[in-house]
Symmetry: C2
Subunit: 227 residues, 2 copies
């Protein structure tokens, strides 16, 4: 009985840590894009400090998962939950990395005149942030519908990325001097796209975890499987 | 005794499957770049077929790892080995994804006149392929020195990526008509860079696994820690 309660407590701790890590990652995306839009260097520094916290959390969470796995015979469902948590942990760390990458582009861009008003990039960032939040919520609540909604939003983010690409290509072709800045902005949109991909990976894991079906490579069947 | 032998056999099977998956991923990188250089559409199709195999392997390996974890109390070292295998499995699948992404760029590029002779891109691809091979070998042999050599090569790949970027930027600025093709080539180099990143993730996992130290976020200390 004591062992069992101990296990549940550790499992709760694991959930709390993942939720905290996800909220940190979200706020890093927010700050990274804000640093670009408001041309605010101090936010770039903040994101870099946040990354250190995320890195420590990643190690803590991994250790906690290993400890939980080492406890005598976790049940099959717990086993899958813990191994999913380990994967999600990696995804969140990579999301934080992407936020750092965005600040690297922002650092270059805010030293130069703004190429164009930013409209689609903040929209993409909003989408990406919400996908991260909802993917993690879907894990904690084991909510398959919420997880599916993340997968659907990934198409929107990809469409925005393509739109940004086409628009910036026009800028580049009509004005050579815009090329370096346009390239930086294209990279920002790709970093945001990858955040969407990581959130999608989390959502796919959740669906697998709850349904016991692996949909990672069968997204195309999604429509059929929805209730 | 029988249970124990059974566990070891399953562990061997796991290693074999990972080695096979890595060799598939390597050959996909090779074919993807060859499709670009030799303007060979049939290779693009091959890479897409290979990806299906990789996706099935990923699911098989994950299931095998879960089965191994569910066996009564794997020892602490086996536990870490299995959870590392699960992470490496994800990395290999992403490497294969990057090869597919390269073929998407190749499909666009081979329909147009070649912008320039490809020199650095095949070099980057060679490096990336060897990094994948050696990272997996370092895992199977638990060879920390080999794993470290992968980390060092990641800097070379990043330097090549920057060089390619600068060169293509010059092309774009001097000739507008080169912009779309130059952008595609920049993306190819970024996909190769990410393959290097995934191999690096594997190598870091190996060092962690063997040394019990987490170096993922302390790469800068690498020089000091080398023997």
């Amino acid at each position: 009985m004591i062992v069992h309660r101990h296990f549940d407590e550790e499992l709760d701790l694991l959930k709390q840590k993942l939720v905290f890590m996800a909220s940190l990652a979200e706020s890093m995306i927010y700050k990274a894009i804000k640093s670009l839009i408001e041309r605010e260097d101090s936010l770039i520094q903040e994101v870099n400090k946040d990354e250190e916290k995320v890195n420590l959390l990643q190690i803590e969470i991994d250790e906690l998962c290993l400890r939980l796995l080492a406890l005598k015979q976790p049940m099959a469902t717990d086993l899958r939950f813990i191994t999913s948590a380990m994967k999600i942990n990696s995804e969140l760390e990579r999301i934080a990395d992407m936020a750092v990458n965005i600040t690297q582009r922002a650092a270059v861009l805010i030293k130069q005149p703004q190429l164009k008003p930013y409209i689609d990039i903040p929209r993409m960032a909003d989408l990406a942030q919400n996908m991260v939040k909802d993917s993690l919520d879907s894990f904690i609540k084991q909510d398959v519908d919420l997880a599916r909604s993340v997968l659907i939003r990934d198409d929107k983010i990809d469409a925005l990325k393509d739109q940004i690409f086409r628009e910036l290509l026009t800028f580049m072709i009509s004005d050579n001097s815009s090329i370096p800045r346009a390239l930086e902005l294209i990279l920002v949109s790709r970093h945001l796209e990858r955040i969407g991909d990581h959130a999608t990976n989390i959502a796919e894991d959740v669906i697998y975890l709850v349904q016991g079906k692996d949909i990672r490579h069968h997204i195309e069947e999604l429509g059929d499987r929805r209730k």
